[in-house]
Symmetry: C2
Subunit: 330 residues, 2 copies
C-alpha cells in the first residue's frame, strides 16, 4: 500500500491562492474563533536558539505544532530565522510546513512555509486592525516594506473597507514605493511623517530600537507591533488596551518589549487581553490608545496552509511523492 504526500512549492502555493489576502484574513479570523471555542490543540512553540562563537545571536529554529479539529487537519511549521541571511542574499525566514491527517497520522503535504508565514502575519495585523482600530479609522501607516510589511499593506487593504490613506515607509525608499504602488498607497517621506496623523500604525521591521514615539501618535490610535520592539515603552505603558495573541508565549520571549515590561513589574498581567475572545465578541468600539502585539501562532499557519493544500489537491498543483514504493519493512 503506497502512501503519497504532495510537495507544494511557493509558485504552486501562489497558484492555489496564497496571495488572496481576503481569504487569508478570513482564515485568520476563523483560526481565532476556533481558538476561542477550544477547537484548536496548540502546545507551546519550541525554540532552538543558535549563537555565533562570540555569543551574539545567529538565529533560531522553532517547531510550531497545532491541530484544528473542525478542519480535520494537524501540522507543524519548522521555522528558521537567521539574522545575517540578508547579507548573504538569503531571506531572514526559511520555513517548511508539514500537514497531516488527524485520523491516521498520515502526512498529507509538505509546503514552502516562509511566504505563508508572511501572508498570515500580514493577515493577523489586519484582523487586529479590523477589530481594534478606533472608530472612524481612515488613515494607516505601514512601517517596513519587506516581505512582511508588504503582506501587511495588502492585508490592511483587504480587511479595512474604510481606509482612505495608506502610507508606506521604509529606510529604502524604493521598497516603500514598490509596496505603495501595489496597494494604491503613498510613500511617507519620513518615519515621523508616516506615524503622525495615522489612525493605525503597523510596524513590521526587525529593528529593536523602539522608534515609534508616543508624542507622534494621535490620541485615538492603534499600534500594531509586528516586530515586537518597535514602540517606545511609554506607548505600551500609556495604552488604554494592550492586546496580544497568546500571552503565555509572549511572556516566554525575553526579548519582546511586553515581556520585559511585565517582568520589570511595569505592565500588570491584568492589563493584557487576548485577541481571540475579542474576535468572537465583535469589534471594539470607541477610541483611545491601543496596542496589539502578536507573537504569531501555529494555528494561523495551519488554517492558511490547509486551505492552500485543499485547493492544490483539487487543482492538481504540487508534486506527488511516495513515502515508499517497494519495501517489506512495514
Amino acid at each position: 500500500m503506497a502512501i503519497e504526500l504532495i510537495y507544494i512549492d511557493r509558485d504552486a502555493l501562489v497558484s492555489a491562492g496564497l496571495l488572496d489576502f481576503e481569504k487569508a484574513v478570513e482564515d485568520v479570523e476563523r483560526a481565532f474563533k476556533m481558538l476561542a471555542a477550544g477547537e484548536i490543540v496548540m502546545p507551546p512553540k519550541v525554540a532552538i536558539e543558535l549563537f555565533f562563537d562570540g555569543g551574539s545571536p545567529k538565529g533560531h529554529f522553532i517547531a510550531m505544532p497545532a491541530y484544528a479539529k473542525p478542519l480535520g487537519v494537524a501540522g507543524v511549521k519548522w521555522a528558521a530565522g537567521f539574522f545575517r541571511n540578508p547579507e548573504r542574499g538569503l531571506p531572514h525566514g526559511l520555513d517548511v510546513i508539514v500537514l497531516s491527517d488527524p485520523e491516521t497520522g498520515r502526512p498529507l503535504a509538505v509546503m514552502e512555509g516562509a511566504l505563508i508565514t508572511a501572508v498570515r502575519t500580514g493577515a493577523v495585523a489586519a484582523v487586529g486592525a479590523k477589530y481594534l482600530a478606533p472608530d472612524g479609522a481612515e488613515v494607516a501607516a505601514v512601517v517596513g516594506a519587506g516581505v512582511v510589511g508588504r503582506a501587511v499593506a495588502h492585508a490592511l487593504k483587504a480587511a479595512l473597507r474604510g481606509l482612505t490613506d495608506l502610507k508606506v515607509y521604509d529606510l529604502k525608499r524604493e521598497k516603500a514605493e514598490a509596496v505603495a504602488g501595489e496597494v494604491d498607497g503613498r510613500v511617507a517621506g519620513s518615519l515621523e511623517g508616516a506615524v503622525r496623523g495615522s489612525d493605525i500604525v503597523v510596524t513590521a521591521t526587525t529593528s529593536h530600537s523602539q522608534f515609534v514615539k508616543l508624542s507622534w501618535l494621535k490620541r485615538d490610535c492603534l499600534c500594531v507591533e509586528v516586530g515586537k520592539n518597535e514602540l517606545e515603552d511609554s506607548v505600551i505603558l500609556r495604552a488604554d488596551k494592550v492586546v496580544v495573541d497568546y500571552w503565555e508565549q509572549v511572556k516566554a520571549r525575553e526579548w519582546v518589549s511586553l515581556a520585559r515590561l511585565w517582568r520589570q513589574g511595569l505592565l500588570p498581567e491584568s492589563k493584557i487581553e487576548e485577541i481571540a475572545p475579542i474576535i468572537v465578541r465583535g469589534r471594539l468600539g470607541g477610541g483611545g490608545l491601543r496596542v496589539f502585539s502578536p507573537i504569531g501562532m501555529a494555528c494561523e499557519d495551519l488554517v492558511v496552509a490547509n486551505r492552500l493544500y485543499r485547493e492544490a489537491e483539487k487543482r492538481g498543483l504540487g508534486v506527488r511523492l511516495p513515502l515508499w514504493t517497494a519495501t517489506d519493512w512495514l
Copy 2:
C-alpha cells in the same frame, strides 16, 4: 536565487544505507556521546494527543526538534502514532523528518521518517545491550517481531559479537519465523520460553500488559523495555540498575511504567541513571538485574537521518525540489 531541498523516500533511504545496522549502532553511540558532551541542543518533545469521541486514545503527533553542533545539522521529526492504523492496513507510526542547515536555516531535506525511527530504536536497544548486558551475555530474546522488533534483532546482531543464541517470539508465529530467519536466530515457542534463560530480553511490543515476570528472569539479566509497559513492576523495583535515555522526558509520560512508579513514590529518582554518561565511561561490568527503558530522543533520529542525507546527496538519490522558482516575494 533558487533554493532546493531533497525529498528522500524510504526506498532511497534504504539505497543510502538505512538498513546498515552497524552504522546505525555507531550513529546512536555517537549521538549519546555528543549528548553527554553538551554538543546537542534538544528541547523537550511536544505532543498533541488525539482521542475518539468516547475519550479513548486515538493517537498522537510529536514534534521532536534537535541540533547537533559537531554534525552541522538541525532538524525536526514530526512523528505520528495511531493505534487503530494496523486494522486499516496502515502502519502504527508515520513520520516525516526535516533537516536544516544551522548556519542559514535553509531546509536541506525532507525524509520518510518511520523506518528511520524503527532502525534507530533498534540501535538504541542494541547500544543499551552492548553497554549494560551482564558479563558474558550470550543469549538474547526479542519479544515482538513487528518492524521495531525486527530492527532490534538486526541491531543486536550487529552490536553484540558474543551472541550465540537469538530467540524471537511473536504472538504471530510466522512473523517470528521471518525475523529469526533473517538474523540466524530461532523461534521461541512461548513467551516464557523466550524470556527464561536469556541474558538479554528486549520487549518491542505495543502491549501495556506488563507480561515479563520477575520469576522468569535469570539473576544476571538485562531487560530492555522498548514498549515501556512490558515489565512487571517488580522487575523494575528489584533491578540493581534502572537506566533511561532522558529522565525528564520519561517522567513527563504518565503512561510509562517508570514514570508511574516514580509518581507513586516507589521508584526513587536517585535510582535512575541516564545512558549517555555510561556510554562515555564504558561498558558496565558485572551482573545483577538491569533495566533499560528508552523513551526515544530527537538526536538519535537526527544523527541517522543526517548520515543518510549526506550519502543520498553524494550518490544523487532522492528528488530535488525547489522552494520556489519564480517569485518576487522575497
